[in-house]
Symmetry: C2
Subunit: 222 residues, 2 copies
């Protein structure tokens, strides 16, 4: 007789009911890349809640390689903004038309107004986890830090806080601007704050939906 | 007068209450890398629910680069398993001790028992999104597909379904085994099914917790 089957777990895992699952679906649907922020500060303690959520991300070999940099100094924010403008000018050179311009101007508005700027890096040389599982796909270190970004984003949305992800940046230049260690790689630069204009959310969402592929078209069987 | 401020949104965004936020925290805490699966099939329709959740991930320039491959044929599963064994033998050569052996044997058990095997790729050349936002950090294409993995994982946990992520694989070899297009890059190979032994969940969780860093030690301000 296996005694383990008779012993109840000390902490029984929770069961997530249909109401939770429905609300969770709503969370995924309404998570979005926020571009226009109020300047109001984020409520006390909320950023800590978001970072704690991010810290629950899965990581390869339990390496927990995410590193968080809150960018507060106006001088450093200015360096980031200048890098964005430089990279964006180069990016726009490859495009004609209004769409790319609009994309960039929205992102810039985030940098100018969001009260919180958070850079998330991956420490590619952390000894944590002893290197387990990352020999053939070392990029899973970066992927682990992406998981932290996603959990932070969902937790923010659940708190009514918006997140916008900037990728039009030179990751090496941002590392220099923030004086981070050489073995840290920039994963995401996030603007965080309360969305400026709740009434325009559905417009953005519906615009996004129109372009959304059907996931069934992205599935093959082998 | 700005008429927009007087017009209520057509679809008001949902408010997530404290009960939801508490349950969401539980979801993050209890999401875990499952290694031991029951052989029972996943309930009808659930995999589709998980894929639909994954499809809500954020993506750079709305590129939606994730591609899903359900690996069903025993022959192809055999190729994946053989690749895992080969890569794992090489990985273990770099380690002494029981820990790495145990890590690998647990993962192998997942491949042998989980009823569903799902590979998630990123299509690095999708025209969707017109290349917006991915010039300076093209790796955001892969990162977008990682987001799909994470959302699928959380949705699975909410449904009582376990997910295990294998990274001890040669991504190019897996692409060949699954005959995927050359421009698809393997992001994650997932085992999916019901966890075998709910009573051992807390043990694994607590073991993980012991090694967990404090997120406050991973935060700097600049």
């Amino acid at each position: 007789m296996d005694i383990r089957s008779q012993t109840p777990p000390l902490f029984p895992p929770p069961v997530f009911d249909d109401a939770f699952r429905a609300a969770f679906d709503e969370l995924l649907i309404w998570r979005r890349d926020v571009r226009r922020f109020k300047r109001d500060p984020v409520a006390a303690g909320e950023i800590e809640v978001l970072l704690a959520a991010a810290h629950h991300a899965p990581s390869v070999g339990n390496s927990q390689p995410w590193r968080f940099v809150l960018v507060e100094s106006p001088a450093r924010r200015g360096l980031v903004r200048a890098d964005f403008e430089r990279c964006n000018a180069e990016a726009l050179a490859g495009y004609a038309g209004e769409r790319a311009q609009r994309y960039a101007s929205l992102k810039l508005a985030g940098l100018d107004n969001a009260p919180v700027q958070l850079a998330i890096f991956a420490d590619l040389e952390t000894p944590q986890g002893h290197g387990l599982g990352r020999r053939t796909m070392p990029e899973t270190m970066e992927y682990s830090a992406v998981g932290a970004v996603i959990l932070l984003w969902l937790a923010a949305r659940a708190a009514g806080i918006g997140v916008g992800w900037l990728s039009i940046l030179d990751p090496v230049a941002i590392g220099h601007a923030l004086e981070t260690p050489d073995n840290w790689r920039l994963i995401a630069y996030l603007c965080i704050g309360y969305p400026a204009d709740p009434s325009d959310v559905p417009e953005l969402e519906r615009a996004g939906w129109k372009e959304r592929a059907d996931w069934r078209d992205l599935l093959i069987k082998r």
